[in-house]
Each structure stands twice: as structure tokens, then as C-alpha cells.
């Protein structure tokens, strides 16, 4: 069964450093998303991406965050200057037709900012 692949599975970074979280969505999917889950809290929407542009973003997704689909297969989330509160599990998801059929999540990248 097709999968959404995320790398790395765990990343530790120092506060203030830039991190890039990588995702390979399912190949025929057109909609891409990032969510995060701080330990013990709800899964929160960050951003949706369609047709090479951001279609929706949350208040969390400020100027420190950016997304990119650099080569038609990867989908990346960049955090420019990490803060302690960015420590969370970050999930990538993709779908063929937006939410009409639900979407498939990756297994996540656990980001720890020290």
C-alpha cells in the first residue's frame, strides 16, 4: 500500500538553528499538508499546499516556517530559527482530492529543540 515517507524520524537541534523536515508524499497525490503534535496535546494544522502554493495556513505557521516542493516528489517544511516550543512531532500528509477521501499521514518526525 502506498505510503507517505518522512525523514528523519527523529531530529535534535540547537535553539536558533534551521531545520528542514522532509516528506515524500504518495506519487499521484496533489494536496499536501503539515501538522504537528506537541507532546500530550492535540494534533494541530500548520499548512496546506496545492498547485505549488500555500492554500491555507494556521496562526502557528508564521514567518519562521516555510514549505517547498523543490523537485516534484519531495515536500519540505523549514523552520528558520528553532525555538524550544517548536519541539513536537511533525506529520506530513497527502491526498488526491483534498479532504473528500481523507488523507494519508506519514509516520512523523520527532523534533527536539535543546
Amino acid at each position: 500500500e502506498p505510503e507517505v515517507t518522512q525523514t528523519p524520524s527523529h531530529q535534535v537541534t540547537q535553539m536558533g538553528q534551521e531545520v528542514i523536515l522532509r516528506c515524500v508524499p504518495i506519487s499521484n497525490h496533489l494536496y499536501f499538508y503539515w501538522y504537528r503534535q506537541i507532546l500530550g496535546q492535540k494534533v494541530e494544522f500548520l499548512v496546506s499546499f496545492y498547485n505549488n502554493e500555500i492554500s491555507e495556513k494556521s496562526e502557528i505557521f508564521d514567518d519562521q516556517f516555510s514549505v517547498e516542493r523543490p523537485d516534484g516528489s519531495n515536500f519540505t517544511l523549514k523552520i528558520r530559527s528553532t525555538k524550544l516550543e517548536d519541539s513536537a512531532m511533525y506529520f506530513c500528509a497527502s491526498s488526491t482530492q483534498g479532504l473528500n477521501y481523507g488523507y494519508t499521514f506519514g509516520s512523523g518526525t520527532r523534533l527536539t529543540v535543546v
Binding site: Y35, F45, L99, G108
Partner: protein, 111 residues
């Protein structure tokens, strides 16, 4: 903004027993999605409900969206150890691509 409340927050049942998890929305639901999460892993899509009164089943898991479309229930029949995990409901408002999630229900199955 839309809020989802799940109950109970945690549930311990004996293998073979039935159980129900509820998800209540502060606003009318356009789409309701059930996911399962194992600790430290990704979310696995279970079912999507859109019409009031709709009911869907997958193996021993049944989900229903009530007529007024503000609550959904997930029912597991004859629970097995493989059902253990965290069950999350998610919902979107009409036209929106993002999901708002409940806080999750942690299900433990005792042999």
C-alpha cells in the same frame, strides 16, 4: 473556531468486550474523520462520514454521524489487542482543507 471534544479520554476494556468512543463538535460537522494512532507513530485513516445518519463499518469498527451532525460515535465490537491505541476524531468546516482534531481517546485492551 470549531472545537472537538472526545470522551472518554482513556478507556481500559477486557479483550472481547464492546466499547464506544464519542466525539462532540461545537459546530455542525461538514466532514468527520476517524484516525488511529499508535504511540510515536503516524495517524492511520479509519473512516470518513459526511451525511447525517451515515454509518460506516470496517472490520469490527463502526462509526456513525448523528442526524444533527454534531456528534459521532466509534464502536468496536469484540475488542482485540490489535485495537489498542489512540483514537482521534478530526473534522473540517465546509470548504476548508484543514482538519481540527479532538484530544484523542487512549484505548487499552487487557487480555
Amino acid at each position: 473556531s470549531q472545537e472537538l471534544e472526545q470522551s472518554p479520554q482513556s478507556l481500559i476494556v477486557q479483550e472481547g468486550k464492546n466499547l464506544t468512543i464519542n466525539c462532540t463538535s461545537s459546530k455542525t460537522l461538514y466532514g468527520l474523520y476517524w484516525y488511529k494512532q499508535k504511540y510515536g507513530e503516524g495517524l492511520i485513516f479509519l473512516m470518513m462520514l459526511q451525511k447525517g445518519g451515515e454509518e460506516k463499518s470496517h472490520e469490527k469498527i463502526t462509526a456513525k454521524l448523528d442526524e444533527k451532525k454534531q456528534q459521532s460515535s466509534l464502536h468496536i465490537t469484540a475488542s482485540q489487542p490489535s485495537h489498542a491505541g489512540i483514537y482521534l476524531c478530526g473534522a473540517n468546516t465546509q470548504g476548508a482543507q484543514k482538519l481540527v482534531f479532538g484530544q484523542g481517546t487512549r484505548l487499552t485492551i487487557n487480555p
